[in-house]
Amino acid sequence: MTDIFVDLNSGTVKQDIAAIPNKLLEGAEEAILQVADLMKGLWQIHIRVDTGSARDSIRVERGGLGMHWREVRVRGGGYVVNPKTGRLVDYMGIIELKYGAGRQAWNEVQPEALAIINRVCLDQIRQLASVTV
């Protein structure tokens, strides 16, 4: 548990508190990018390799954004041409259903995700003048 203190004597306390949701959103966005990168790496480790095209097709993409939400995607498939078939990787769904490397990566990344979110979000909040973490 982290202690967070607010200096009520600071002239910026009200603005700082009001800024917390945006700071959390910035931190959370950065955190999920880190989580996605970690998941991508783990997925690339776990996936069964023949030509390596499926592994190379795993990537992180920015999803979308709204006033209160951000999204990133970890995607495998397409993107890379398999030298054996001469086609884009079009079998990722099948190998995922069979071996579940992406699911395994997801399972492994969850504990790290929690740590990353805590660290990055607190770093963002720490930037507020009247808040001490």
Partner: protein, 106 residues
């Protein structure tokens, strides 16, 4: 997680949503303002105001905010799984299309 109609790609969507956090902090801000103005109006000594500045409730509020932060897209599909972690709302759902399921089960 989602597959495209041909099963050619697999995608995990990781989404953060701080709508709930915004509402909570707005309420928190209102409470702080009321608290501070009352303290100043009643002429509390500086030491008391200092003491008030250590508001532990904010810590609990921030921790509660974390719980609403990370969401993986929840979706439905013929095949799915959901994973929950601690107090954080964190789940992954796998979706596949009927064509791919058909290909597996035939």
């Amino acid at each position: 997680m989602a597959f495209d109609p041909g099963g050619s790609f697999v995608e995990y969507k990781i989404r953060v949503d701080t709508s709930e956090a915004a509402t909570s902090v707005s309420e928190l801000n209102r409470l702080f303002t009321t608290y501070l103005s009352l303290a100043r109006r009643t002429g509390l000594p500086e030491s008391i105001v200092d003491a008030l500045s250590r508001i532990y409730q904010l810590q609990a509020a921030i921790q509660a905010l974390y719980r609403s932060i990370l969401l993986l897209e929840a979706a439905s599909g013929p095949i799915g799984w959901a994973i929950a972690l601690g107090g954080i709302s964190l789940s992954a759902v796998m979706i596949t299309d009927q064509a791919l399921i058909g290909a597996r089960t035939r």
